[in-house]
């Protein structure tokens, strides 16, 4: 009789271990299912890069030509005198240490010869360019944009091509 009681007790203990393990699996599954639907991070690099390109092209305080006589900026016309680092850095200022974005703007003439280039946040552009287009932590998202523009050089207006490369770190 005592042997049967000991057997019963040990059976109960094994049964309890199985029960507790099953309970843990259920709890973990519910928590996992709930957390699967929680999203704390939004990937907005693409939107930011597009906005930055639009800012360079259309903001009157960026590289766009401002007609004094008409009294308004002219979208699509680039003032070559404004295409420099100082103008770009002031037009899109993220503070003294800018770890948000970097860009390179190249202006070509219609024969595809480089007329002028300028960088926004030059220090970080040169640091990030080797990481551009890679995947994983620490990588940098890049976006290339090309458009036909008219640029004002001196008193003349010329057709040209503008190429913009924007880099934004993923982390």
């Amino acid at each position: 009789m005592e042997g049967n009681r000991k057997g019963l007790i040990s059976f109960e203990m094994i049964y309890w271990i199985a029960r507790v393990m099953f309970l843990i699996i259920v709890i973990v599954s519910i928590i996992f299912l709930v957390r699967m639907y929680i999203k704390g991070h939004t990937d907005t690099e693409s939107v930011e890069m597009t906005m930055m390109i639009n800012h360079f092209l259309y903001s009157p305080d960026s590289i766009m030509y401002y007609d004094e006589i008409a009294g308004r900026p002219m979208p699509g016309i680039i003032d070559i005198d404004k295409l420099n680092e100082l103008t770009l850095d002031r037009a899109f200022y993220f503070g003294e240490k800018n770890t948000m974005a970097a860009a390179k703007i190249e202006l070509y003439d219609i024969k595809n010869s480089l007329v002028k280039e300028a960088m926004y946040n030059k220090i970080y552009y040169e640091r990030w360019i080797p990481l551009a287009g890679k995947s994983g932590a620490g990588a940098v998202a890049e976006k290339d944009f090309e458009t036909l523009v008219v640029y004002k050089s001196g008193k003349t207006f010329n057709n040209g091509i503008m190429r913009i490369k924007v880099l934004i770190p993923k982390s």
């Binding site: 049967n4 009681r5 519910i30 928590i31 939004t42 939107v47 259309y58 766009m64 308004r72 948000m100």
Partner: protein, 274 residues
Amino acid sequence: MGRLSQKRGVTAVETTLLVVFEIFLVLAVGASLMFYVNKVKEDTLFQKIHHVKDLSFLVEAMHSVPGNTLFFYNESFGFKYKFSPNRLEITETGIALGSVYYWLAENLNLNFIYPEEILGPGLKNETDLVFKKAQDFEINPSDQNIDFRICPVIETSEETPVAIKSDSESLKGFLLGNEVSVSESGSPLIILKYSYVEGVEIYMPGDIKSMKLACLISNELKKEGINSAILPSDSAELKGKTAVLIESDSNLKIERQIAQGVKRYFEWKETEKD
């Protein structure tokens, strides 16, 4: 026989206690999971992250617009917003921790007015955030982050003398110096009282013209770095009139700016915006 002897090894009390314990365990686990799910449901972290990025991108988009812009953002969720140079921080009202921030791109070449609560009817919604970008807005260059009110747009360029009740004669002198005529039976009515208040308090009855006058006076004071509060009043002195009652300490600079505000009230045509 073997089975009967096994059953004798476990009493009814033990079995019952075991069942009660199992029920308790089920309830405890169920309750804690429900509590966890509820906590996740009420969490506002994602809301704040979405909101802060939305506002940040809105500011950047406004910088890109080739012209002056005024934008009413009517999706505020009752959070507290703090705009500081290059940074927007969102905190839940009443909770010190859990703030979320994101970077703001600043355009150093133009004036950008970050939002504050707007005042009065005629504008969209009192709880909207209002962003303003202006190239030709007059601003004190030494104080770039000054907040101005956006005043009601209403025609007030009629030439009538102003009525004043003041504890001193200097306000009348400043008004006459700004080519604003003064008369006992004029409109609007400006009442200036000296009292020991911090800053300036401007009381007005609530009609739109008084609101505009109070707003313009407040903005002129702000240009000199003087903060002012605009408060509604149902005082008999102001009732039924276009009037403001200003309480401040005795200060010539305040009186000069009040006169400037009154001058703008008469000069400002409906086509212009402040």
